[in-house]
């Protein structure tokens, strides 16, 4: 027993080092798998506070550009909703309807919430964006994020009461369904971790004629992204003779370098869709249900 204490005393520093190193590696490896960091809830509040202070200063510098872009988006939205012009008078007030039914009996599927970016990087292989909205404002995991000019940005992976973290499209583990505007064929967008100005679209069959400049939109088959929003344009067609599918280099529609204002999009039927999907799998793959 005494020898054990002597040993610990003698190698105290080395043991501390090994212990702390173990803690660090444990953080690292568990985090990468589950996107849940140890103690992230508290840390997120603190870093979020610092980030929002900094962002206050920085947003002044980009105000003009952002204003122009928001204005452009507003413009296009107003044009879409031309019937709104009929009703505008002093007593009319635009009320946002959060109930999933509108007066025509259509169900509302997507709900948009505005948010602004407080921290963002592009020069890592795993880029995250931090937003100034959290679970207090109704943000949940797996909500889609689009930029103020309507381009896909990423997916929410973690929320704290006042802030949320978004896994940007510039993240090597990100996978988003996307389709070609021209033909509707769909594939998967991912990022090879090299150039932040290029995403990769895979899974488009070679039978389709593709030219550079073709538009890629979010697909109708995505659970979190609303369909028809810009992902980017085809910048380069890589020919690989060994497969029947294209590898397309996509120029992202959102400018990740100066992203400031975003919308967080909630699919109101997300949990229903996911549950149905899981239930189906369980039903079909359950050994009890397989016909003998």
């Amino acid at each position: 027993m005494r020898n054990i204490f002597l040993f610990i005393r003698r190698y105290r520093t080395l043991l501390t080092f090994l212990f702390l190193q173990g803690v660090a590696l444990w953080f690292l490896f568990t985090y990468n798998r589950f996107h849940k960091a140890k103690g992230l809830g508290v840390a997120n509040e603190i870093t979020g506070w610092v980030n929002s202070k900094y962002s206050n200063v920085e947003s002044f510098l980009t105000l003009k550009e952002e204003n122009r872009r928001v204005h452009k988006m507003n413009d296009s939205l107003l044009n879409l909703l031309s019937r709104n012009f009929m009703h505008v008078d002093t007593s009319a007030r635009l009320v946002k309807d959060s109930v999933p039914f509108d007066t025509l009996g259509n169900s509302r599927r997507y709900y948009f919430r505005p948010a602004s970016v407080v921290y963002n990087t592009v020069n890592s292989q795993k880029n995250y964006i931090q937003l100034n909205r959290g679970s207090n404002h109704g943000i949940k995991d797996n909500m889609a994020v689009i930029s103020s000019d309507g381009s896909a940005v990423g997916v929410v992976v973690n929320v704290s009461p006042n802030f949320s973290q978004v896994m940007s499209l510039l993240h090597v583990q990100q996978k988003v369904n996307a389709s070609l505007k021209k033909t509707g064929d769909f594939g998967t967008i991912d990022w090879d971790g090299k150039d932040p100005r290029r995403l990769t679209l895979r899974g488009i069959p070679k039978s389709i004629d593709i030219k550079t400049g073709d538009t890629v939109l979010t697909s109708t088959y995505s659970y979190n992204f609303p369909p028809g929003y810009m992902v980017g344009t085809v910048a380069e067609v890589v020919t690989d003779k060994s497969t029947n599918f294209y590898t397309l280099k996509i120029k992202p529609g959102a400018n990740f370098y100066n992203i400031k204002q975003v919308f967080v999009v909630e699919n109101l039927q997300y949990s229903e869709q996911i549950t149905l999907n899981q239930e189906t799998r369980k039903k079909i793959e359950d050994p009890k249900n397989i016909k003998k």
Partner: protein
């Protein structure tokens, strides 16, 4: 200003510079992010005990990690350099901590050549280990080698610039005082 207060301020300044300046500037090439925050660990006084060095290294790394959303990555690298630092100092300048005429490692306290070797070895260790951990989950071997070399070179350039631009004013200590 007391050593403690000075180092707390230094910690805040280094972390803020790293998070809001160096991590955000448009990168020179693919993924070469310049790193400088670990200079805080290199500048800690000689008198800090090895246990404390490890604890300070852990906190420094973790703070940066929570800003960059990579818990554990910088922490592991910081711990490594905090652990190696005392050995390296005793190898490069065979003196006891009380025999130094200045409180902290600096070109004046250690002379330029040993100081540069000290900075270079620790920078290489920090980047090598950190990029190695990143590489485990993603990337090719060639990428790994190029990144280690390039990032180390950029960081060395930054550190030498900092040393030349902001020479730290330090009191000369003698045995009589």
């Amino acid at each position: 200003m007391s050593d403690l207060l000075k180092n707390i301020l230094r910690f805040a300044v280094f972390i803020l510079i790293q998070v809001f300046l160096l991590n955000k500037i448009p990168h020179l090439h693919r993924f070469i992010t310049p790193y400088i925050y670990f200079l805080f660990l290199l500048w800690l006084p000689f008198s800090v005990s090895r246990q404390w060095l490890l604890i300070i290294g852990f906190i420094t790394g973790l703070t940066l990690d929570y800003f960059t959303m990579t818990p554990g990555l910088h922490t592991a690298a910081c711990l490594l350099i905090a652990y190696v630092r005392p050995f390296l100092i005793s190898v490069l300048t065979p003196k006891d901590s009380s025999e130094f005429n200045y409180r902290e490692p600096s070109p004046r306290a250690m002379l330029w050549t040993p100081y540069l070797v000290y900075v270079f070895v620790l920078t290489l260790l920090h980047h090598g280990y950190m990029i190695f951990l990143q590489w485990l989950s993603f990337g090719s071997f060639l990428d790994f080698i190029i990144k280690v070399i390039a990032t180390t070179a950029i960081s060395m350039l930054l550190i030498v610039t900092v040393e030349l631009l902001f020479p730290r004013k330090m009191k000369f200590r003698t045995n009589t005082a």
